[in-house]
C-alpha cells in the first residue's frame, strides 16, 4: 500500500513536471504575445514523431532528444513569422482560428506521412530497467524524465526571473510600445518566445514519447490538459503553470489510485473550484485575464 502510494506520488510529480513544460510554453506565449496557441499540442506531437523518426534512423535516443525539439522550434519560428506576426493587435479570435487550423493541418500531415498506428520511441539502453528503492521498484527511465523535466523547469524559471532576456520578455509583455520605443526589436523577442515555447513542447514530446505511445491523437489529448493547467495557474503566469502542473499531475496519479473512471471529473472539478474562488487562476492578475 505504501509502495503504491509512493509510486503514484513519483508518477504524479513526473507527470506534473512534464505537463508544466508544455503548459509553460503555452502560458508564456499567451502572456507575452496574447496568443492562445491551439497548435501547441500539435507541436508537442511533432516533437514525439520527429524523435521517433530520428531515434529509428540515427539509432540514438540522445540525438533525438536534442534534434527533435530544435526541428520543432524551426517549425514554430515559421508559424510565428509567416502567419501570426501579421495578425498581432487584431481580434484574438483570429489567432485562435489560425492556430487551430495549424493543429488540424499538422495532425493531418502526420496521418498522411506516418499513418494512424501507434508507435513508441525506444528507451536508451542506459535507462532501461527498474531501480529498487527499498521495496519500491520504479523504472529508471521515468526517474530520468522526472529529473530532466525538473531541471529544465528550474532553469527556465531562473532565466525568466533573473536573465536580461527574461526581463526584456516580461517588459515586452507588459508594455510593448514602450519597449519598442526604447529601440528594442520587439518582434524578435516575440519570435524567440514562440520558438522557445515550441522547443519546450517538442522536448516534452520526446521525453514522454518513450514512456507512452506516439499517435496522431496525442496532441489533442495533451492540449486539453495543458489548458486546464494554464487556466488553474492563471493565464500568462509561468509560476502558476508550474504549480498547477504539479497539482494536475498529482491529481491524475492519485485519481487513478482512488477512482480511475473519475480522474477527469477530478481535473475539471478542480478547475471549476479554482475558478469560483479565484476567477483569474491561482497566480493570475486581473490584467492578464
Amino acid at each position: 500500500m505504501v509502495e503504491t502510494f509512493l509510486r503514484a506520488t513519483l508518477l504524479g510529480v513526473q507527470l506534473g513536471m512534464t505537463l508544466a513544460l508544455i503548459a509553460a510554453g503555452l502560458t508564456l506565449i499567451f502572456g507575452m504575445l496574447d496568443v492562445i496557441n491551439f497548435a501547441h499540442g500539435a507541436l508537442y506531437m511533432l516533437g514525439a514523431y520527429f524523435g521517433a523518426v530520428i531515434a529509428v534512423n540515427l539509432g540514438s535516443f540522445w540525438l533525438a532528444l536534442v534534434l527533435a525539439p530544435l526541428l520543432v522550434g524551426l517549425i514554430g519560428a515559421a508559424i510565428e513569422v509567416l502567419s501570426l506576426r501579421p495578425l498581432y493587435g487584431r481580434n484574438p479570435l483570429y489567432h485562435i482560428l489560425l492556430t487551430f487550423g495549424f493543429a488540424i493541418m499538422i495532425q493531418g500531415a502526420i496521418v498522411q506521412i506516418w499513418g494512424g498506428q501507434a508507435r513508441r520511441i525506444a528507451q536508451p539502453d542506459l535507462l532501461t530497467g527498474t531501480l529498487s528503492i527499498g521495496s519500491l521498484n520504479y523504472p529508471i527511465y521515468r526517474l530520468f524524465v522526472l529529473v530532466v523535466s525538473t531541471v529544465l523547469i528550474a532553469a527556465v524559471w531562473l532565466a525568466i526571473d533573473r536573465s536580461n532576456l527574461g526581463i526584456l520578455m516580461r517588459a515586452s509583455a507588459h508594455d510593448t510600445e514602450m519597449v519598442d520605443a526604447l529601440g528594442i526589436n520587439v518582434s524578435k523577442v516575440f519570435t524567440s518566445v514562440f520558438v522557445f515555447g515550441a522547443v519546450l513542447a517538442g522536448l516534452a514530446g520526446v521525453l514522454l514519447g518513450a514512456s507512452r505511445s506516439v499517435n496522431p491523437g496525442m496532441g489533442m489529448g495533451i492540449i486539453i490538459e495543458a489548458f486546464v493547467i494554464v487556466v488553474i495557474g492563471g493565464l500568462g503566469s509561468f509560476r502558476g503553470a508550474v504549480y498547477a502542473g504539479l497539482l494536475i499531475g498529482l491529481v491524475t496519479a492519485y485519481g487513478a489510485l482512488i477512482a480511475p473512471t473519475l480522474t477527469d471529473l477530478f481535473l475539471f472539478g478542480l478547475m471549476a473550484v479554482v475558478l469560483m474562488i479565484k476567477p483569474n487562476g491561482l497566480f493570475g492578475t486581473t490584467e492578464a485575464a
Binding site: 507527470l15 488540424i104 505511445s213 496522431p216 491523437g217 477527469d264
Partner: protein, 431 residues
C-alpha cells in the same frame, strides 16, 4: 472492436472527432463522388429513358451490384477501415470487378466511428445508393446503432467486418447480419482452458473499462472458473489511459501467476510497454485477447512483448498455402502487410460473392438464406456461418510473440490451434 486510440473524456473525444471530421469530410467527398456520381448519372439516364429503363432495372440483368462501405476512413480507426476496404477490393480485383457475372460498384461512406454518423451512413447507403450489401462497421457501438435501420430497410445483407460485440446477435439477431469477423466471446473465452492447462491456475484480470473490455474479461473469467481456475483480482483502467503505473501496482500486488488482459490500439502499446518497464514480465505471464498483441501494436511494443500469449482468429504468419497466397497478393497490390482487418474485408467479399452466386439474385432474404451454414475458404482457415446466429464458426489460434527475422523485430507465432470454436447462441435462432 472498439476503442483504438479513442480518448477517455467526452471533451477530448469530441475535440478529436470534430477536428478529424472536419478535415476528413473533405477527403471523403473527394473520394466518394467517383462512385456516387456514376450512380446518379445512371439514375438520371434511367428517368430519361423512362419505362424501358425501369423495366430493365427490375429484370436486374444489367443493374450490377452495389457494395456500401460503412467504415471509418478518418479519425482513430481510419487504418482499420482502409485495411477492410483493401481486403474487399483485393477479392474484387481478382475476380475482374465482377461477382456472378455482374459489375460491382463500391460506395464509401465515412462513419467516423460515430454512432450517429453510422445510422445516417447506413440509411444513405441503403436508400440513396441502393446497396445490396453493407460492409462494416469497425466500432461495436456503431453496429448496435445500425441494427434498427438495417432491419427496417430490409434491402441489403450486412457483412459485419469487424464490430465484435456479442449483443449485435443477442439483441439484434438479424437474418441479414453475418459476422465475417469475430465476436468478443471468441477472442477471450476459448483461451481460458489453454491458460489453465499450460500457464497458471490463477489469474488477475486487467481490462480497458468499456463494453468490449468488460465483455472480454467476463467471458474469460466465466470460462476460466468453469475449468477450475481462480480469478484472484481484477483491474479496470479507463479507455485512453496514458500511464499504467498505478494499475500495474494493483496487478502486481494481486500475486497472481498470470494476467489476462484486454487492451487495444495505443492503450495496448502503453500497457504492454509499462508492464515491461516495471519488470512485471519477470514475475507473471501475460496472456490476452489478440488485440493486445496484434500486427498494428507489435511494431511499437517491440521486445517488451516477447513471450506473451494472445488469442485471435487470424495471424498473418500462418504457414498455410491459402494464407501465404493471400499475404503475397496483398503485398503486391498495396505494398504493405496484410492484417486481420484486411482478412476480414477479403472474407466479406467472399461471403457476398458466395451469397449472390448461391441465391442467384441480390434479393437480401434469398442471400441471407443462402449464406446461413455456408462454408468459406478463408486465409484464416475455412470457417462457416452458424445457421442459428450467423456468427463465424472458426479456428482460434493461440499465438506467442517471438523474435522475427522479417522487417519487424517481433511477430506472432501460432503455438496452438483451437478447432472450430462455436460460442453460445445468446438466445438467437434464425433457422
Amino acid at each position: 472492436m472498439i476503442g483504438i486510440y479513442i480518448y477517455d473524456t467526452i471533451t477530448r473525444e469530441g475535440m478529436v472527432r470534430r477536428l478529424m471530421g472536419e478535415s476528413s469530410n473533405r477527403i471523403a467527398t473527394d473520394r466518394a463522388p467517383q462512385s456516387s456520381i456514376s450512380r446518379r448519372q445512371y439514375l438520371a439516364s434511367g428517368t430519361a429513358v423512362g419505362v424501358g429503363a425501369a423495366l430493365g432495372g427490375c429484370l436486374g440483368s444489367d443493374d450490377g451490384l452495389t457494395v456500401g462501405y460503412a467504415l471509418p476512413f478518418t479519425g482513430t480507426y481510419a487504418m482499420l477501415g482502409e485495411s477492410i476496404v483493401n481486403g474487399f477490393e483485393l477479392y474484387l480485383e481478382q475476380s475482374d470487378g465482377e461477382i456472378d457475372g455482374q459489375e460491382v460498384e463500391t460506395v464509401k461512406r465515412d462513419t467516423e466511428a460515430d454512432t450517429n454518423r453510422g445510422v445516417d451512413v447506413t440509411r444513405e447507403l441503403m436508400v440513396e445508393e441502393q446497396a445490396d450489401a453493407i460492409v462494416g462497421p469497425v466500432s461495436s457501438s456503431v453496429a448496435i446503432a445500425m441494427m434498427q435501420t438495417i432491419e427496417n430497410e430490409a434491402s441489403a445483407i450486412w457483412l459485419n467486418a469487424n464490430a465484435g460485440d456479442y449483443r449485435v446477435v443477442e439483441e439484434g439477431c438479424l437474418n441479414y447480419h453475418f459476422r465475417t469477423s469475430f465476436n468478443d466471446w471468441q477472442t477471450s473465452a476459448p483461451l481460458a482452458e489453454w491458460v489453465y492447462d499450460n500457464v497458471a491456475d490463477n489469474v488477475c484480470l486487467a481490462y480497458a473499462d468499456y463494453a468490449f473490455g468488460q465483455n472480454s474479461k467476463n467471458f474469460f473469467q466465466k470460462a476460466f472458473e468453469e475449468v477450475g481456475g481462480e480469478v484472484v483480482d481484477e483491474v479496470g483502467a479507463p479507455l485512453g489511459t496514458d500511464d499504467y503505473s498505478t494499475y500495474l501496482s494493483d496487478i502486481e500486488s494481486s500475486g497472481a501467476d498470470a494476467v489476462f488482459s484486454f487492451f487495444a490500439g495505443s492503450d495496448a502499446v502503453n500497457y504492454i510497454s509499462d508492464f515491461a518497464d516495471y519488470g512485471l514480465d519477470a514475475e507473471m505471464t501475460q496472456v490476452g485477447s489478440g488485440f493486445l498483441l496484434s500486427e498494428d501494436t507489435l511494431p511499437a511494443q517491440g521486445e517488451a512483448a516477447l513471450g506473451m500469449y494472445s488469442l485471435l482468429h487470424y495471424t498473418p504468419t500462418q504457414e498455410t498455402d491459402r494464407n501465404q497466397e493471400f499475404i503475397g497478393n496483398y503485398r503486391e497490390a498495396y505494398d504493405s502487410s496484410a492484417n486481420v482487418y484486411a482478412c476480414q474485408g477479403y472474407d466479406s467479399a467472399q461471403a457476398f460473392a458466395a451469397a449472390v452466386a448461391e441465391a442467384g439474385s441480390s434479393d437480401p432474404d434469398e442471400m441471407a438464406n443462402a449464406l446461413g451454414g455456408m462454408e468459406l475458404d478463408s486465409p484464416r482457415g475455412s470457417f462457416w456461418f452458424n445457421s442459428e446466429t450467423h456468427e463465424a464458426i472458426q479456428n482460434m489460434y493461440v499465438r506467442e510473440v517471438v523474435e522475427s527475422d522479417r522487417d519487424q523485430p517481433v511477430e506472432n507465432q501460432v503455438v496452438e490451434t483451437i478447432d472450430s470454436v462455436e460460442g453460445p447462441n445468446w438466445g438467437c435462432n434464425l433457422e
